[in-house]
Structure formats: structure tokens, C-alpha cells
């Protein structure tokens, strides 16, 4: 394993999110120091270089998400300051610059997650705020990006939520040939729920992923890649990483269009407490075969299924232990 680049000291406070773009050759990091930093891969030297850093919000920047490159170099960020800002890279006199093209600010409370929808749905993004409302925005004119219209809004739980300590998170299903789906972590209920559009294109709460012993910090829907089932991973405050398998009961219901609230048979196929500390984030690789989880134990763990279908920890990575940390 080659260590390419270290982040140490590049931000003035905690880095909360790192996100690769679609091609995997750019990286955005965002931090409590209110800045976003863009890293570019220098293929010749094999290192990552940070050329641009800009003040993005007036509070901690919690998450960033890249739009599909079809729409240009576009980034969305959400923050404690209750806003979501859409950024676009522009050139002025051969100088690259990130400019805020739109600010979405109509919620009460921290915007806790933002994620662009899969490309086939157009230029859309979903946000969830501390008030427990998921909102879906769409750029009506993909050439200007300044105008975003809220096309959907639905609460994740029953009744209003004013739990400042709660955390909401969401992840789109990237599957192209099913109805729109996403999984949402619901702060106070200690569960994650699958939301799906019904026949009237209304988002409905469907299956519940339960068994969490605390707030769900993060959810991640694995790229389907034509598997007969779906995988969703959750990161929980109770220190566990869980993988849920969604098998389609309804004999092709998902694909042929039949709608039902209980379409998937949900089973928790893996439950790991290896971190032994709060687990913050989980994310799948592009083929949905490797799961990464990061926890307060200062380690990233990578999980992979064996050929018999059991999920195992394939390696533990930490910055301090250098190249030996990658234990096969």
C-alpha cells in the first residue's frame, strides 16, 4: 500500500466529510473550520494536491456531495448554519474558482445530510435537517443551476422533531430500473427507514431497519450492480456496523411496478462491534462489494463478503501505523 497524501493539518478543525467525485480523480474535504478544500489527483506524481480552499459556510460544514459530471463541476454542502449551498467551479482569467450558485435555506435547524440523486433522475438533491424533514430539490434549468425547486418534502418520523442531539442521514438507491428509493436514518427512533415513491409519486415510509442501540449516524445504500438483492449499511452510535439485506419477496414486484409497503424482506446479515466506539460513517465502494466504516477508535475498517456470503473484516486502516496497517 502506498501512502499517497496525508491530510494532517490541512484544516483547522475536524474534517467531517471526504467525498470522491464520479471519476474518482477529485476529492472534496469539508471541516468545522467552515471551509471546503478540493484535491486533484496528480497522475504523473501519483499524489493528491490541494489547490483550492474556500470558506463555504458560517458554521461547521458537515457534508458534501458531488453532482454527476454531466452537469459540470458541481458540489453541494450542508452546514450547521441551516443552509445548503450549491457550488460550481468556474474559470475567470484562467483561475479556477468555486462560486456559490444557489443557497437553499428554508429549514429550521442544522442541515444534517445532503446527497445528489442518481444521475438518471436528473439534477436533484435530497437534504435532511434536524427538524426531521427530508426535502428533494430539482434544478429546473441545468444550464443555470441558480433556481432550485422543492419538488418533495416528507417527515421522517411521526410528529415534529426538535431533538437537537438527534441525527438524520439519507442515502439514495442508485438502482435505475425501480421506483425511486432512499434510506433515511431517523434520529429519535433509533431506526433507519426505507422511503419509496408510490403510484402517485408520493414518498411513503416502508420497511424499517431496526435493532439499533442508539442514534443511526449514517446509512449507505450499496450500488445494486444487478444483484438479486439490495444491501444497506448503517453506522450507529452504539458502536456497531450493520449490514441489512433486502430481498424481494413479491416475485419481481419491484421491477414490474407493483407497489406495496412491504416489498422487501429485511434481514440483518452482519452486525459488527469491532470499532468498540461510536461509528460515524459507512460507505460502499463503486461496485458495492466493499464497505468502509470509520469510528472514534481512530480506525477505518473495510468489510468484504467471502464467497460463502459471510461478511468479514478484510483490513483495518489507520493513519499512524503506516503501510503495515493494511492487514490482509
Amino acid at each position: 500500500m502506498n501512502q499517497v497524501t496525508k491530510f494532517d493539518g490541512t484544516h483547522e478543525d475536524l474534517i467531517h466529510d471526504v467525498a470522491f467525485n464520479y471519476y474518482g480523480n477529485r476529492l472534496a474535504t469539508c471541516s468545522s473550520d467552515q471551509k471546503i478544500k478540493i484535491w486533484d489527483y496528480n497522475e504523473g506524481e501519483g499524489i493528491w494536491e490541494s489547490n483550492i480552499s474556500f470558506k463555504a459556510h458560517s458554521c461547521a460544514v458537515l457534508k458534501t456531495s458531488w453532482a454527476h459530471p454531466e452537469y459540470g463541476q458541481v458540489l453541494a454542502s450542508c452546514s450547521f448554519d441551516r443552509s445548503v449551498i450549491v457550488w460550481e467551479e468556474s474559470y475567470h482569467d484562467a483561475v479556477k474558482k468555486w462560486t456559490p450558485v444557489a443557497t437553499l435555506r428554508d429549514g429550521n435547524g442544522t442541515v444534517q445530510d445532503v446527497e445528489f440523486a442518481p444521475n438518471h433522475l436528473g439534477l436533484r438533491l435530497a437534504i435532511v435537517a434536524a427538524d426531521g424533514l427530508v426535502k428533494i430539490y430539482e434544478a429546473m434549468d441545468v444550464t443555470s443551476l441558480a433556481h432550485w425547486t422543492m419538488i418533495d418534502s416528507f417527515p421522517v418520523g411521526e410528529g415534529p422533531s426538535k431533538d437537537e442531539e438527534g441525527n438524520h442521514c439519507l442515502s439514495w438507491s442508485t438502482s435505475k430500473f425501480t421506483s425511486q428509493m432512499m434510506v433515511v436514518g431517523c434520529a429519535k427512533d433509533h431506526v433507519a427507514k426505507i422511503f419509496r415513491q408510490d403510484h402517485n409519486n408520493k414518498w411513503q415510509a416502508c420497511e424499517v431497519l431496526g435493532g439499533h442501540g442508539g442514534v443511526v449516524h449514517d446509512v449507505s445504500w450499496a450500488p445494486n450492480m444487478g444483484r438479486s438483492y439490495n444491501l444497506i449499511a448503517t453506522a450507529c452510535k452504539d458502536g456497531h456496523v450493520r449490514i441489512f439485506k433486502l430481498t424481494d419477496d413479491s416475485q419481481g414486484g419491484a421491477l414490474t411496478g407493483g407497489w406495496s409497503r412491504k416489498m422487501f424482506n429485511v434481514t440483518c446479515i452482519a452486525d459488527f462491534a469491532d470499532h468498540n466506539a461510536e461509528v460515524w460513517r459507512v460507505e460502499w465502494n463503486v461496485t458495492g462489494t466493499i464497505l468502509s466504516s470509520s469510528g472514534d477508535d481512530g480506525k477505518v475498517r473495510l468489510w468484504k463478503a467471502t464467497y460463502t456470503g459471510d461478511w468479514k473484516c478484510m483490513s483495518v486502516v489507520s493513519a499512524e501505523e503506516g503501510p503495515n496497517a493494511f492487514q490482509r
Binding site: L14, V18, S228, S294
Partner: protein
């Protein structure tokens, strides 16, 4: 007891552990005297019989209330010619009151002497804020509309010290550190700055960027590094440790609307009032540490198998050092210890991270295979052989075996003997190669078992016995199930490359039932190819797919707009009355004309690389065979035309 004032509130509350109740309502007294509303209130430092509070009336004057004996107005001060912005009692000399006014003066009032005019300090700037130094009686500091801060010595009211620029925009709030040495200032520029007033250079030693501009800032008693602030248009009150400027220690959300003022009752209890017309007393100790709610780490993987991550650790419970560690090396030159210790510390987060090359995805093999696999659906045996070799070249031994096995399924009946030996050879060779590879050693062994069972099928003697007696057909036996197993196996591994290529190669031969997942495989494979920017291959795959949705994928949301090259008017190709695609409706010019014959070029259009004038291909060839220059501009095209 706390005095609370507002637009039509003038009360004294009695705050206990269990709640607050109204002790005295001065509104009635105030209404009678026309001072019902107030902008600011301060308790005099004396208590008991001499207790006084001072308020700034909404309609101008400063009103001193004698509340120790009888709730009445002691004195009204009307000398300021414009509105008063802040008043401040001296912490050491209880009868001295300072007032800051928009009439560009600061005035000092001695309340012992009835109706004596105050000392006037001419600030030459609208005075927003004034504060006494808690340790030095004659030292006061004032904040101005221009963003300047100025220190005054009360013994010399004619001239203050030199002003210094503290903020862009007006100074909203000032508070002296209990040590008397440091000053916190809030400004319109949405920052709180901490100044060392003993340093002649007047540099800020801490800067806190805040969510909104502060309406009030106050140091926390007995916590030398902490201060609380309320903000304009912001319902939360935040407590900061100045050593960690970006993350508030606590975010208190007691109110629904803007918190307008704050006051530390003691080091653990903070009193706040808000535009939602409530007063709140908050036990700050034990509140959620807001840093605990912030995600401490994240990992992400790209399609090249690189892992980018950050992770943090928390050491020990509830302490400042839990999230932060002292920075190694020399402390920052600006650092000054606020708690009186000689060693100033600069901290950094307990977080590490970077981008590592973890080889999580063999992208080189993927790209090699994508570029070299044959997807032709004709000659299965040759194509399988070719693909097997490609996979072998890419060190994908398992895939190479699979291709070989596929080839065997379609083998001519004449060569069963060769087939058997070939399978054996390949299998043994593959297993030795794989065992020398470290990667996924055990997993691959499992895999070989499955493959061997698959590959072993053709060599089962009974099967062959039956088949050989049949008429020579291309397909040895019905192996749809085996192929389907193979596809599902690869789908399970996320190897859509294999799934798609096999599907395409077998498209005509294999009577495969409709795979409802196959379009997902195509979609995913095309997406993966796009990530590696292999556009041509992605297009070839989508063109080769029979599924309509995949086949027409590239046509989705693709539109071509044409405009006239001389007047920029969009060309409507379908309008019946118009001249169509070949001429512009507005300027009546012929579009894309040939520079030689001046007729519209329909078909291959070539153009001069220098001036972009166009030609019929034939005319261009003829012209440039005789002349080196473009017929329109007389410049020589660089290199070839078209």
C-alpha cells in the same frame, strides 16, 4: 434577582432553583412617568437599601431606579442629545455610571451628586458600547460605529488612547476578561475577537467566526478561556472556548426566537432573554458538548481502489484535551495564555487521515479487459478463446477459466479428448498460479471448487456417451442452468463486466430466459466504463444490447441546437414554411456553403483549419491541390483540411 426590560416590559424577577417569578413590576411606575419601555438595564453593584438599577428608556433618557427602599424613579438623565446605546456601572465604585451614545459622546455620571452634569468624553464617532475594566478603576474601553475600539483613562477625559481598527462594521459588544488584561469584542463582521490590551501592537490573539453577528458577548466566570455570546437573528446562545474557535463548546437552544441578551449568573448558570418574550436560566454545566455531535471520521473509496479517510479519537471524558492535543513544535507567536500561566498552548484536533492506495479494485485489469474483450455474438468458440486469453493476460485467472469452460460448452463434438486434457491443464495451472498470489488466496480456492465443478461437467463420461451418439450439434447439452449459475455468481461478486460480456457473446446462441436483472448489469457496466472515461466501449456496449432502454440510453436528453452562423438565430428544421436546415429564415443566407461553388454543402463538410471556411470535400481537394491558400481569406491552412 434579575431585572428584565424590553419594549413594554420592566420587571424584576426572583430566580430560584425551581423557576422565576415576578418580584417587582416597575411598569406601572414607568407608565405613569412615561418610561415604560427600555433598551438596556444594569444593576448597580450595591444591594440592600441602596440597590439601584439603571435603564435606557426607548424614548431617550437614562432612568435610575431606587429599588432598595421604594420602587421609584431616582433620577432621569436627559443630557444626551441622541439615543443612548449602552450603560455600565463601575464594578469598584458603585456610584459611577458610564453611558455610550449616538451623539458621539461617552459620559460619566456620579450618582452620589444629584443632578450634577456628567464628565463628557468626545469620541468623534457614534459610541456603540462602553465597558469598565474590572481590575482598574479608571480604565474604560469604548466601541464605535466605525469598527474602532478606543481605551480611555477617566483621569484624562479630554483625549483617549489611540483608536485601533477591530472590526469591519460597527462594534456590537465588548467585555473585559476578569483578569483585566484581555478584551473580547463582537463586530458586525460576524467575528468575536480577543485582544491583549497590554500588547501595544493591538493584535487579536483569537478570532472566532460566528454564525451571525453578536448582540452580546460575556466571559464565563472562573473559566478563563470561555465566553458566551448571543446573536442577531439567531435563537441559539453559544458558549465558546476561544482556543477552539470554530466549534462552540455548547449550543443552547432554549429560545424559539432571537436571544437578545445574556448574563452569567455564576460560572455554571447562564441567564438569557429572547424576542420570544421569555427569560431562561440554563445550567450550562452538563449541557451537550456540541463537538460530540460532529462526525469525527469518514472514509470513501474511488474506482481506482484508493481509500480517502479521516478518523479521530477521543481521549478521556469531558475535557478540553479530549478532542484536541497540544500542537507539537513552537507555539504560535500570537499565542498568549488567558489563564495566567506562562506557557501558552496551541491545539490541533486529534484527527488523522489521508488518501491511501489500497488496491481495493483492480482497475488496470478492468480497463484492459474492457478494451480487449470481444463482445461479438457470432463465433462463440473463437470469441471465448480470445476472451480467455485476454483475462489471462490481465491476471484474471478465474475469469480466464470461465471463458474456457464456456468455450467447452459449445465445442464441436469431434474433439472431446482434447477438451478433457485442456481442462485439466488449465485447471492445474490456474490453481498453482493463484496459490502464489497473495490476494484473496483462500477465497479463490473456494472459487476454484465451484469452477471445477462447472468445468468438470463436460468430462463426465456418461454425458459424453449420450451426446456422442447424437448427430453432431454445436451445443453439447443443455447447460442453460450452468450459464445462469455462472452469471449469478459473477453478479454476486459485482463483476458486471463478466456478466455483460458473457451475455453479449452468448446472445445469439444461448436460449437464455429473460433475465430481469440483465438491464441492471448493462446499466452498471456502462456506468463503470464511464467512470474510467471509456466512452467508446460504453457506447459499443449500449449499442450491442437488445434491451430498448439500454439501447436508447445515449439518445436520452440529447438535443442538438443549430443557429445561423451570421445572425445567431436558431434554425428551425421542422417549420414547413421555412427554408429548412439549409438557409436562415431571418437573414436569408445560405448556411454551410462551399467556398468554391457557394452552394449548400449536404453531406461531408470540410473546412479550412485556419479560417474555418467550408467546402465540399471534392472542391476542397481540387482547390488545395492547386493552391496553398484558402479561396476566401488567402491564408494557408495549417496541415490538412477537414
Amino acid at each position: 434577582m434579575v431585572a428584565v426590560v424590553g419594549r413594554d416590559v420592566l420587571k424584576i424577577l426572583n430566580v430560584t432553583e425551581w423557576g422565576a417569578e415576578e418580584a417587582i413590576n416597575l411598569k406601572a411606575v414607568g407608565v405613569r412617568n412615561n418610561f415604560a419601555g427600555s433598551m438596556d438595564v444594569k444593576w448597580g453593584p450595591t444591594s440592600g437599601r441602596d440597590a439601584k438599577i439603571a435603564t435606557i428608556g426607548t424614548n431617550g433618557p437614562i432612568v435610575i431606579w431606587d429599588i432598595g427602599t421604594h420602587n421609584k424613579i431616582g433620577r432621569t438623565i436627559k443630557e444626551h442629545t441622541r439615543s443612548v446605546n449602552r450603560i455600565c456601572f463601575s464594578p469598584q465604585e458603585p456610584n459611577l455610571l458610564l453611558s455610550a451614545s449616538s451623539d458621539s459622546t461617552i459620559r460619566l455620571w456620579d450618582l452620589r451628586v444629584g443632578n450634577k452634569p456628567g464628565t463628557v468624553m468626545d469620541a468623534k464617532d457614534i459610541v456603540r458600547e462602553v465597558q469598565f475594566n474590572p481590575t482598574s478603576m479608571n480604565d474604560i474601553v469604548a466601541g464605535y460605529e466605525s469598527g474602532n475600539i478606543q481605551r480611555w483613562d477617566l483621569r484624562n477625559p479630554l483625549a483617549g488612547e489611540k483608536k485601533f481598527m477591530a472590526h469591519m462594521g460597527f462594534v456590537t459588544s465588548l467585555d473585559y476578561h476578569p483578569s483585566g488584561r484581555f478584551l473580547a469584542s463582537g463586530g458586525r463582521d460576524r467575528t468575536i475577537k480577543v485582544w491583549d490590551m497590554e500588547d501595544e501592537k493591538r493584535r487579536e490573539i483569537h478570532t472566532i467566526p460566528t454564525i451571525q453577528y453578536t448582540s452580546k458577548v460575556q466571559w464565563r466566570p472562573n473559566r478563563p478561556y470561555q465566553l458566551a455570546a448571543s446573536f442577531k437573528d439567531e435563537s441559539t446562545v453559544q458558549v465558546f472556548d476561544v482556543r477552539r474557535p470554530y466549534v462552540p463548546l455548547h449550543v443552547l437552544s432554549q429560545h424559539d426566537k432571537d436571544a437578545t441578551s445574556i448574563l452569567w449568573k455564576d460560572s455554571d448558570v447562564l441567564w438569557t432573554v429572547s424576542k420570544d418574550k421569555t427569560f431562561a436560566s440554563t445550567l450550562v454545566k452538563g449541557q451537550t458538548i456540541s463537538a460530540d455531535l460532529l462526525p469525527g471520521g469518514k472514509a470513501a473509496m474511488n474506482c481506482y481502489g484508493q481509500l480517502a479517510f479521516t478518523v479521530s479519537t477521543k481521549a478521556g471524558p469531558d475535557s478540553f484535551e479530549r478532542d484536541l492535543v497540544p500542537k507539537p513544535g513552537r507555539p504560535n507567536a500570537k499565542a498568549v495564555a488567558l489563564d495566567g500561566s506562562s506557557e501558552p498552548m496551541v491545539y490541533r484536533t486529534r484527527q488523522t487521515g489521508g488518501v491511501f492506495d489500497c488496491e481495493l479494485f483492480n482497475h488496470e485489469a478492468f480497463i484492459y479487459c474492457a478494451q480487449n474483450y470481444s463482445m461479438e455474438a457470432g463465433n462463440i468458440r473463437e470469441v471465448c478463446e480470445h476472451n480467455s486469453n485476454v483475462a489471462w493476460q490481465a491476471n484474471k485467472y478465474r475469469d480466464s477459466q470461465a471463458w474456457t469452460a464456456l468455450k467447452l460448452f459449445f465445442s464441436e463434438i469431434a474433439e472431446p479428448a482434447i477438451v478433457v486434457s485442456q481442462v485439466d491443464a488449465v485447471t492445474s495451472e490456474a490453481s498453482t498460479t493463484i496459490t502464489t498470489k497473495e490476494e484473496e488466496q483462500q477465497d479463490d480456492d473456494d472459487d476454484i471448487d465451484t469452477l471445477e465443478t462447472m468445468a468438470a461437467k463436460p468430462v463426465v463420461p456418461s454425458l459424453f456417451a449420450i451426446k456422442v451418439s447424437d448427430a453432431p450439434v454445436k451445443r453439447n447439452w443443455s447447460h442453460d442452468d450452468t450459464v445462469r449459475n455462472l452469471l449469478e455468481f459473477y453478479a454476486e461478486q459485482g463483476e458486471v463486466q463478466m456478466c455483460v460480456t458473457i451475455l453479449l457473446v452468448l446472445a445469439e446462441e444461448e436460449d437464455l430466459p429473460e433475465f430481469r436483472l440483465s438491464e441492471q448489469w448493462f446499466g452498471s457496466y456502462i456506468d463503470l466504463l464511464s467512470r474510467f472515461k471509456l466512452w467508446s466501449i460504453a457506447t459499443a456496449v449500449s449499442q450491442a444490447c437488445k434491451d430498448v432502454r439500454i439501447h436508447t440510453m445515449n439518445q436520452d436528453s440529447t438535443t442538438i441546437h443549430t443557429s445561423c452562423s451570421s445572425c445567431m438565430k436558431p434554425i428551425l428544421t421542422r417549420a414547413p414554411s421555412s427554408s429548412g436546415f439549409w438557409a436562415c429564415d431571418r437573414c436569408r443566407k445560405v448556411l454551410s456553403s462551399c467556398s468554391v461553388c457557394h452552394k449548400t454543402v449536404r453531406g461531408i463538410f470540410t473546412w479550412c483549419t485556419q479560417c474555418s471556411h467550408g467546402f465540399h470535400l471534392q472542391h476542397a481537394q481540387e482547390w488545395f491541390s492547386q493552391s496553398a491558400e484558402c479561396p476566401r481569406t488567402n491564408v494557408a491552412p495549417a496541415g490538412d483540411t477537414g
